[in-house]
Amino acid sequence: MKNQPIPLGRLLGYVSKNVLLGVYVLFALFPLIWMVVLSLKPDSEMFNTTFVFHPTLENFQVVLTRADFLGALQNNLIICVCAVILSMIVGVPAAYALARFQFKGREDIAFTFLSFRFAPEILVIIPLFLIYQKLGLLDTYLGLIWVYQLISLPLLIWILRGFFEDISPDIESAAQLDGYNWWQVFFKISLPLVRPGLVAASLLCFIFCWNSFTFALLLGGGHTQTSTVAMNKFLASDTVHFGWAAAAALISALPEVILALLIQKHLVRGLSFGAVKG
């Protein structure tokens, strides 16, 4: 085999394609890069427009030791994990019912779930605040876990519904005839079949909950301060510590990045199947 020279036209196309992709990657990742840079800058060089600075880990040190940021991270973790688990417990049966059973108002109910995601949170926060105040749910884990259902439940139901619709009812009938009752069929056959969807949906739910700010700010408090709210405290009116905030944001983003990398395969498959169709 001789090495044939690549035609110039194709070579140019190859190079320009990669250059363009590189530019896009830079564009997309620039905020992240900017954040990393900020987190490594000392306060004195914060507003320099050049990329030359004296890197320091002081910001991380402050965030991790002096401010109670780790506590806020822990709060966020507890609230988000519990919220996602609660969403799964409620949402999986709901999605199954919306996919399988013919009942009156099925589409209306499905749409109502979806519509929870339409309105901005700030729109409902005042009545919610008053209700929470009356119920004594302000600044409690339960209160935040509950209100986070507004974020995670519709997402989970809508993604999983598509997955359940993809399972042929014949498969469930076959399993029933093979000697299993409804519950056994559900756990042995149906649930394993929607697992990619469940993984993708719960990860997305987790990310949305993790990043939620409005609810945590107004319905949370000293006990249940989440990392998003805690970060904001570094940008007070008198002292503005961009470096601290950047370091905190980086630390806070870490779990999401790790989770997403771990289940990347499921994520792509999960979101490209089922969910995209009506």
Partner: protein
């Protein structure tokens, strides 16, 4: 002993009729075929028996015991679905072992393996048992689905168009295999199909469903030679039966003749039917394409003139569509070695003993030439 008795089974999906008032019985070890066009309610009937669909009315008894309201798992029925309904995330072995590991039909682990392998061998898929379902061809999937039904000993087998997704060649060989298997198994079986050849070759008896209602129940011969009405006659047989309107006239003193296809050559009404036909003046006469004989020679008294409208060679046989004098078209099945040019003149003859007579209004079967009994349904 597992007879199946079905009484007045009715299922409506909203306003749409699934099946209405379906009643039939299946004897122990009988192989019953349910035949009908798409949307006739065949699968609904099976689902009602299997318990995966709940009827509005009606009763199903297996071996004399009512199974209404029982969960599908408690009915001890094995079913092969049209879509095969295999568990996609399991291997062939796991699919076939699934019923044997269920709480209802559990057998010891050692026996599971033995039984699955025995059936796999019988289905000729024993070399595939470790494959995932996605890696199987359609024919192999079909065998796996059949195998999953065969591993346990159900009271009743329900087969829902198991061969319809196979290519023509495989379908023929599987039909032969099924036929052999049914004699080995000796289990009461209901077999749903929309292929009349399958129904005829496999069924001890055939139930004809159309639009959710039973049209006829009978042996393959009954249904082919004495169809209960024109609908059944049209559904059974390919190419489709010829149905022409005919008028009844007196012949001589006591006889009657029917005149079909124009003025020429009336056909005498058989003696056995004189009584039933006497008070009618219109009839529908049916005859199978194979019973139309195209003549080579010159016209005679009993032949009819026509023009060849189209010619479709099918190998051993050819379908010739003839256009009669009144513009009516008839299908004829002729020997594949003969060739007919379109627009050519032709003479054809009908043997009176092959004619079937139907009522012009109700479309019901009245009788045929060489059948002594008259069915008045």
């Amino acid at each position: 002993m597992a007879t199946i008795e079905i009484e007045g089974l009715t299922k409506f999906y909203g306003k749409r009729r699934g099946v209405e008032n379906v009643s039939f019985t299946v004897a122990d070890k009988e192989f019953l075929a349910i035949f009908g066009p798409a949307g006739a309610g065949k699968t609904t009937t099976l689902n009602l028996i299997a318990g995966t669909v709940t009827p509005n009315r009606g009763t199903v008894r297996i071996a004399g015991n009512s199974i209404d309201g029982l969960e599908p798992a408690e009915r001890n029925i094995a079913m092969v679905f049209e879509s095969y309904a295999l568990y996609p995330n399991h291997s062939v072995y796991e699919n076939m072992a699934f019923p044997l590991k269920s709480p209802k039909f559990r057998v010891p682990d050692s026996e599971v393996k033995e039984r699955v392998m025995r059936v796999a061998k019988m289905m000729k898929i024993d070399h595939l048992v470790d494959r995932k379902i996605q890696a199987l061809s359609n024919g192999q999937r079909q065998r796996t689905a059949l195998g999953r039904a065969l591993v346990r000993n159900p009271q009743v087998f329900l087969l829902d168009e198991p061969l319809s997704h196979l290519d023509a060649k495989l379908r023929h060989s599987m039909r032969a295999e099924l036929k052999e298997m049914r004699s080995q198994l000796g289990t009461t079986t209901i077999y749903v199909t929309h292929d009349y050849l399958e129904a005829m070759s496999l069924g001890d008896r055939i139930v004809i469903l159309d639009d959710g209602q039973i049209q006829q129940i009978g042996t393959p011969d009954d249904i082919y030679f004495r169809p209960a009405n024109t609908t059944v006659a049209k559904l059974f047989g390919d190419p489709e039966i010829n149905l022409v309107e005919a008028t009844v006239r007196k012949r001589g003193d006591a006889g009657l003749e029917v005149q079909l296809l124009g003025e020429n050559s009336p056909v005498a009404v058989p003696q056995s039917l004189l009584g039933t036909i006497a008070n009618r003046d219109k009839l529908i006469v049916g005859f199978r394409p194979a019973d139309v004989e195209i003549l080579d020679g010159t016209p005679d008294k009993k032949s009819h003139p026509a023009v060849v409208y189209s010619f479709e060679p099918l190998g051993t046989k050819s379908v010739v569509t003839l256009e009669g004098l009144k513009g009516s078209r008839l299908r004829a099945l002729v020997d594949g070695r003969k060739h007919f040019e379109a627009d050519r003149r032709a003479q054809f003859r009908l043997a009176p003993e092959h004619l079937m007579f139907f009522d012009a209004d109700t479309k019901k079967f009245i009788g045929r030439h060489n059948s002594s009994e008259t069915e008045d349904l």
